[in-house]
């Protein structure tokens, strides 16, 4: 048991899939204090277990699934971290997922799972009420995520169990494969689904009824009430509650903050057809929390009844999906997008990376670098039916889908230098939807994120749009390079903390300030913390991730943006003529972060001050 830090069970499952062995290991109190839990704790574990030589899709790689102290102790805190060496980037792979899987894992008696080795035959892991068992999954191999979850629940005779599963994409080692939890939430980014597939691990099911102890329950109940009420009074909370993230598309599009035609255009005249507002007007809709066990007053998960697709409630595509597969591929048909989103979820594909790699393929087709003969059909902008076919081809690695399944970086290298020029990624991870030309701090956040281009490792577009952080001295929208760099660093640190604590960022930025988060953290864990401590802890985790990447061979020149954003301004729309001054931003970033611009290493002094238990060397 973890003797001092509350908010945890105090133990992890350590599963060796090569040997078929399961054992329990204790949670380290010192690491909880230094790295909180969730992605921070998982990254620290991983640091000791992988090296530059570790092949991401080999049995040597390790996948850590980890919850934080807020998970199942506090509302609006569903986030579970999947952390590994990414098969897309070769560096830190991390994907944070909502839903109830993490809460159920904790109730089953474990704070996380360390997955090593690889099974010879397909298996799934059942973690039920303090017991863990590796079970045969031969009959599940080849099935989609929904079928898999359904069969496992029937086998366990437990409809309340929560399942994290891969689809055919993960089985086929597609590097943009996701793990889907709760049948609807995606741990989508950095190819974590392919790592599960490489271990022949089809799924993990969790169920339990335990509750972990918290430090000060009375105080916590008071803080819970306050936090749950906050979204209902905040413009951000009201907006998300109304339409979910899909509601963001219209204002982002009118502000120049969406990708259109592989980031080459500034206006898409069919955007009105696919906004969250339109979809929820045209189809019957409802809003729910992201998981059945999640207490949340925002309820941003929106569902639609689309008669042309199915009779069941279907997930309304999130903003990122509407943008990467909608505007970026110029698909202006809502029903098409619901179908593509559904197919990606069932097959276990990340919709952001899928949109990114298909946009690249469409541009390559337009430029004559890919031909209809290579595909078996034409691949024109806006063709939803062609995209549906291509999604299947990627998941099953059929035809040209086998090339696209490698992700946009490797796919473009396969085609040649001309095709690499419009492969939009950072460190191999395809870009999310927020536009580096529109919000320059997002460009910096993408370029310097420790997992490649991620919008959740520094959500600075929020600050540039007026969601400020006065408790950290950010009381105005940043206008100049210096303030944009400072905002990026602060946001990166705060996101690193939140990913480790298990709190949903939608329930924090623009909803409550970090003085409140510090109080909540103390009431759960007993760890005395101020807002400054929260920031410093996040900073420590950010440098831990950076040190892991350096250990894995990260080169400083990889901290950059695709040239399209730096050298090619758009010719129309709200951000006509604008590019992202990434080199100026990076220069200050290195200085403020105390990173050596020649090799990206942090100073010994900075690491010592932050109290990391590993050294720069």
């Amino acid at each position: 048991m973890c003797p001092v830090v509350f908010g945890f069970n105090g133990k992890l499952l350590d599963v060796d899939l090569s040997r078929g062995e399961v054992k329990t290991i204790g949670l380290r109190e010192d690491w909880c204090r230094l790295y909180v839990g969730g992605s921070g704790y998982a990254t620290r574990l991983l640091y000791d277990l992988i090296s530059r030589e570790t092949e991401p899709l080999s049995p040597d790689n390790v996948l850590v699934i980890m919850t934080g102290p807020f998970v199942d102790t506090f509302p609006i805190s569903p986030k579970t971290a999947f952390v590994t060496k990414s098969p897309l980037t070769g560096y830190l792979g991390k994907s944070i997922v909502g839903g109830s899987f993490g809460a159920m894992l904790k109730r089953a008696g474990f704070d996380g799972i360390v997955l090593r080795g690889a099974s010879r035959k397909p298996v799934y892991l059942a973690v039920i009420d303090g017991q863990a068992e590796i079970r045969d999954a031969s009959h599940l191999w080849g099935k989609d995520v929904l079928e898999t979850s359904k069969i496992i629940k029937e086998e366990l005779n437990n409809q309340k169990a929560k399942v994290a599963a891969i689809g055919p994409a993960g089985e086929n080692l597609v590097r943009i494969a996701a793990v889907i939890t709760d049948e609807r939430r995606a741990a989508g980014r950095t190819g974590v689904g392919a790592v599960m597939g490489s271990k022949k691990l089809k799924a993990i099911a969790a169920y339990g009824s335990r509750k972990v102890n918290v430090y000060d329950r009375e105080r916590l109940v008071h803080l819970m009430r306050e936090h749950l009420a906050a979204p209902l009074k905040s413009p951000r909370g009201i907006g998300l509650r109304s339409y979910g993230t899909s509601g963001g598309l219209i204002s982002y599009a009118m502000d120049g903050n969406v990708p259109i035609k592989n980031w080459t255009k500034g206006v898409f005249d069919k955007v009105d057809n696919i906004t969250g507002q339109t979809l929820q007007k045209v189809y019957k809709s409802r809003g729910v929390a992201c998981g059945t066990e999640v207490v949340c007053s925002i309820q941003c998960h929106k569902e639609l009844q689309v008669s042309g697709v199915s009779e069941e409630w279907e997930k309304c595509p999130e903003f990122e999906t509407l943008a990467l597969i909608g505007t970026n591929l110029m698909i202006g048909n809502g029903e098409s997008l619901v179908k593509i989103n559904r197919l990606c979820d069932r097959l276990g594909l990340d919709t952001i990376s899928t949109g990114g790699v298909i946009a690249w393929a469409m541009e390559a087709y337009e430029k004559g670098l890919i031909r209809a003969e290579d595909l078996g059909f034409e691949l024109k902008w806006g063709d939803g039916e062609a995209v549906l076919r291509l999604v299947e081809m990627i998941a099953y690695r059929r035809g040209l889908g086998d090339v696209l399944a490698e992700g946009v970086k490797r796919a473009s290298q396969r085609i040649g230098p001309e095709a690499e020029k419009f492969a939009i990624h950072v460190k191999g991870l395809e870009l999310p939807a927020h536009h580096p030309r529109r919000y320059h701090s997002m460009g910096l956040a993408y370029a310097t994120s420790n997992i490649g281009a991620s919008h959740l490792q520094g959500m600075t577009m929020l600050v540039e749009r007026g969601i400020l952080l006065p408790e950290y001295g950010i009381s105005e929208i940043p206008k100049d390079i210096e303030s944009k760099v400072r905002v990026t660093i602060i946001h990166q640190n705060l996101c690193a903390f939140l990913d480790s604590a298990g709190l949903c960022k939608f329930g924090v930025f623009g909803i409550v300030d970090f003085n409140k988060i510090a109080e909540e953290y103390k009431a759960i864990t007993g760890i005395e913390a101020s807002k400054e401590d929260i920031l410093m802890t996040g900073e420590r985790i950010w440098y831990l991730e950076r040190l892991l990447n350096l250990k894995l061979g990260l080169r400083v020149e990889e901290n950059t943006l695709p040239k399209r954003f730096v050298e090619e301004p758009l010719e129309e729309g709200p951000i006509k003529g604008v590019t992202c001054p990434i080199n100026q931003l990076l220069e200050l970033f290195y200085r403020y972060r105390e990173l050596d611009p020649r090799n990206g290493y942090p100073s010994e002094e900075r690491i010592r001050k932050l109290g990391l238990d590993i050294s720069v060397s």
Binding site: R236, T245, S246, G247, T275, Q277, M459, G510
Partner: protein
């Protein structure tokens, strides 16, 4: 008093004509939110672009009011 034509997204077919005593975007927004009993954050779109708070709209302008949702 100046009049403006307002559509509230996504109901683009319904046009409301409103008299306002100001044409500064920030103040027009407040008037419209109050009049139409809207909660949350809104922005004014004209000709496919969000207008900033300190911009002006013109008498007889045709504008759209959209709810600003800050998603992921």
């Amino acid at each position: 008093m100046p009049t403006i034509k307002v559509r509230v997204y996504p109901d683009l077919e319904n046009v409301v004509t409103v008299e306002v005593n100001t044409l500064v975007v920030k103040e027009v927004l407040e008037v419209l939110k109050d009049l139409l009993r809207l909660q949350g954050q809104y922005a004014i779109v004209k000709n496919g672009r969000i207008l900033s708070n300190d911009e002006y709209i013109s008498d007889d302008d045709d504008i759209t009011l959209i709810q600003v949702v800050e998603g992921g």
